[in-house]
C-alpha cells in the first residue's frame, strides 16, 4: 500500500468512532501495542524534544527502504507515534520525503497537534522527513 492508501485506511478506522472516548481509548490501545523500542537505542541523540513528553526516534535502511522505531513516555503520544510509523515506515526514502501527511487532521486530532510545544509530535514528523531526505540526498 502507498503512504496515501494507509492514511486513508486509518482515517476510515477512526471515522467509526462517534465519541472522543472511544477514539482516545483506541489511541491508548495502539500506544500500548507499539512494539517496544530497544532500551539501548533510547539515547539522548534519539530524543525528539517536546515540552511535555519525550519521544525517541530511530531510523534505519533495509533493502532500499527506510524503517522507524519510536517510543514515548506518554501513552496518547505513543498512540499517535504508532500511527505515524504505520504510515511512513517501510517506504522508499523519496516517498517519505514527499509524502503529504494529513492523517492527524483526518482523525480529528489537529487540536492535539496544535499544542505543538506540548508533545513534540510536530518535531517528530520533521525528524522522520529529515531522515528520509538525508538518505535520499546521499549519492
Amino acid at each position: 500500500m502507498t503512504i496515501e492508501e494507509i492514511q486513508q485506511e486509518i482515517a476510515e478506522d477512526f471515522a467509526l468512532f462517534d465519541n472522543w472516548e472511544d477514539k482516545y481509548a483506541y489511541l491508548i490501545e495502539l500506544g500500548k501495542q507499539l512494539p517496544p523500542m530497544p532500551e539501548e537505542l533510547k539515547t539522548e541523540d534519539k530524543l525528539v524534544k517536546g515540552c511535555q513528553s519525550k519521544v525517541w526516534l530511530h531510523a534505519y535502511m533495509k533493502d532500499g527502504k527506510l524503517y522507524f522505531l519510536a517510543d514515548s513516555d506518554a501513552l496518547i503520544v505513543k498512540g499517535i507515534v504508532s500511527l505515524l510509523i504505520k504510515v511512513l515506515s517501510g517506504h522508499k526514502p523519496e516517498e517519505i520525503a514527499r509524502a503529504n501527511l494529513h492523517l492527524i487532521e483526518d482523525i480529528g486530532l489537529k487540536q492535539h497537534l496544535s499544542m505543538t510545544r506540548a508533545n513534540g509530535l510536530v518535531s517528530m514528523i520533521k525528524h522522520m522527513k529529515a531522515y528520509a531526505e538525508a538518505v535520499n540526498s546521499q549519492p
Binding site: 472522543w20 472516548e21 481509548a25 491508548i28 511535555q52 513516555d73 506518554a74 501513552l75 506540548a118
Partner: protein, 412 residues
C-alpha cells in the same frame, strides 16, 4: 462541604462578572483550573480597556491636550492603586513593568552594573520559577558572583535551616518566591528577609502567586523589592508592578534608556528623571496599566482574606477528593499552602491526563511548570496542576475529580 457554603463571598455573583467562564469546551461546560498560569478577566477590566481606546487614547506625561491629561491621570491613579495594593509608602516606589520576569531582569541587571562583584553571592531557592533563576545566572556570569540555592524539603517546604547556613556576609542578594507556582508552598518570606537584612543583603520577593493569594504589605515585610504580574491578578497581560525601596532605587543605575527616563539629554551627558520615571523608558503600556487599577479594585472589593479562605477551601476539598484516586500522590504538602494542587499518578503520564481532561472540558496545567530544577530535585518529569481562583466552585472541583478518575482509568 459545609465550610465552603459558609464562605463569605458570593461565587455565583462573581462568576457573572467573567464572560469567558460561560462557554462549552469540547461539548462540556468549561472548568478553568489553570489560574496559576493566568487568571480570567472580570467585565470591569475588559470595559476599562475598551473605554480607554474608545474615549481617551493618548500618550501620557507630555501632552497638553485633554485626552493626554485624562490618560495621564488614569495611569497615575493606577500607580496609586498598586501602591495601596502593596502598601508601599509612596508611588515613587511603584514601577510599571511587563510582569515579574521583567522585574527580576530589571533588578538583576541594574545590580550587576552597580553592586555585584566577583566573590559576592546571590541566594535563591530550589523552588524558583525560571524567571527568578536565569536573570540571576546572567548577573552572576557578568560579575563573577556565585549563585547559591536554598534546598527544598521532601514535603515541598523551603529548608530554612539551610537558608541560615547559606546566608553570609558575602550574600548580596536574596531572591525568593513568595508562593511556589509548582507546589503551592507559602514561604516564610518575612523571616527570611529579616535574616538576609541582618547580613546586609538586598531582598527581592517574586510575588507572581503571592500577590493574588495573600494580603501584601511591603513595609511590614521590609523587603527591598516585591514584584507581581497583572495577568495573574485578574488584570490584562503585559503589565506588572515592581515595588522598589526608594533608597535603593535612587542608588541604582537606570535600566533602559530613552523617553520618559530622562531629565535632560545632550550628546555629552544625560541626567535622569526622578522616581519612578527613571525606570519607565519609552511609551509605557498605558491601556493595560490603567486596567490594572480596576482589577486591583475588584480584588479589594471582595477582600483578599475572603478570597484566600475560599481558595483554600477549594484546595482542601479537591485534595480530599483526588486523594481517593488509586496511585495519586500530592506533590507539595507544605503546612502553609495556597490554592495550588500539584500531583502525579503512578504509571500515568501527566501529558495524557491533560489531554483527556481537556476533552472533558477541564483545563489544568501539566508539565514542569517552568521549574525544571525543582522537578529534578523532586525526581519528577513534571506534574499535573490544578490551581484555583475566586470564581471557582466546589461543583467544579467535583467535576474535575470525576474527570480525573475517568482519565486515570482510561490510561491504566
Amino acid at each position: 462541604m459545609s465550610s465552603l457554603t459558609n464562605s463569605t463571598l458570593d461565587v455565583h455573583a462573581i462568576r457573572q462578572e467573567f464572560p469567558v467562564l460561560h462557554q462549552h469546551i469540547n461539548g462540556k461546560p468549561l472548568v478553568y483550573f489553570d489560574n496559576a498560569a493566568t487568571s480570567q478577566k472580570p467585565r470591569v477590566v475588559i470595559e476599562a480597556l475598551k473605554q480607554y481606546y474608545e474615549q481617551y487614547n493618548a500618550n501620557i506625561h507630555r501632552g497638553a491636550h485633554h485626552l493626554a491629561v485624562r490618560a495621564t491621570e488614569a495611569y497615575e491613579q493606577s500607580r496609586e492603586a498598586a501602591r495601596r495594593f502593596l502598601n508601599a509608602s509612596s508611588t515613587d516606589e511603584i514601577l510599571f513593568v511587563r510582569g515579574v520576569t521583567e522585574a527580576v531582569n530589571l533588578v538583576a541587571d541594574c545590580l550587576s552594573r552597580s553592586l555585584l562583584q566577583e566573590g559576592d553571592e546571590v541566594l535563591i531557592s530550589a523552588m524558583e520559577h525560571h524567571s527568578n533563576i536565569v536573570p540571576w545566572q546572567m548577573a552572576c556570569e557578568r560579575t563573577g558572583a556565585t549563585l547559591k540555592v536554598i534546598p527544598v524539603k521532601e514535603n515541598g517546604e523551603l529548608d530554612t535551616a539551610q537558608a541560615d547556613a547559606l546566608l553570609s556576609a558575602r550574600t548580596k542578594v536574596l531572591s525568593v518566591v513568595h508562593i511556589s507556582n509548582a507546589l503551592g508552598s507559602i514561604n516564610p518570606v518575612k523571616e527570611l528577609i529579616r535574616k538576609a537584612k541582618a547580613r546586609g543583603a538586598l531582598t527581592f520577593i517574586d510575588g507572581a502567586q503571592g500577590a493574588v493569594h495573600l494580603p501584601i504589605d511591603v513595609q511590614d515585610l521590609d523587603c527591598d523589592f516585591y514584584a507581581f504580574s497583572g495577568h495573574k491578578v485578574y488584570a490584562p497581560t503585559g503589565i506588572g508592578v515592581l515595588y522598589g525601596r526608594r533608597s535603593v532605587l535612587e542608588k541604582l543605575p537606570p535600566y533602559h534608556g530613552g523617553g520618559e527616563m530622562i531629565k535632560e539629554v545632550t550628546f555629552e551627558k544625560t541626567t535622569y528623571n526622578e522616581l519612578p520615571f527613571k525606570y519607565e523608558a519609552g511609551t509605557p503600556n498605558i491601556a493595560d496599566a490603567i486596567a490594572l487599577r480596576y482589577a486591583i479594585e475588584f480584588v479589594e472589593q471582595i477582600g483578599k482574606e475572603a478570597m484566600l479562605h475560599h481558595e483554600q477551601a477549594l484546595l482542601h476539598y479537591a485534595t480530599d477528593l483526588v486523594s481517593r484516586i488509586d496511585g495519586l500522590q500530592v506533590i507539595g504538602q507544605a503546612k502553609e499552602k495556597a490554592g495550588i494542587l500539584s500531583f502525579v499518578i503512578e504509571g500515568v503520564h501527566h501529558h495524557d491526563i491533560g489531554v483527556l481532561l481537556d476533552n472533558m472540558g477541564v483545563a489544568i496545567r501539566t508539565g514542569h511548570h517552568c521549574t525544571q530544577p525543582l522537578m529534578r530535585c523532586l525526581g519528577l518529569e513534571g506534574t499535573s496542576r490544578a490551581s484555583f481562583a475566586v470564581y471557582n466552585t466546589p461543583e467544579e472541583v467535583e467535576r474535575f475529580a470525576e474527570a480525573l478518575k475517568k482519565a486515570a482509568n482510561m490510561l491504566r
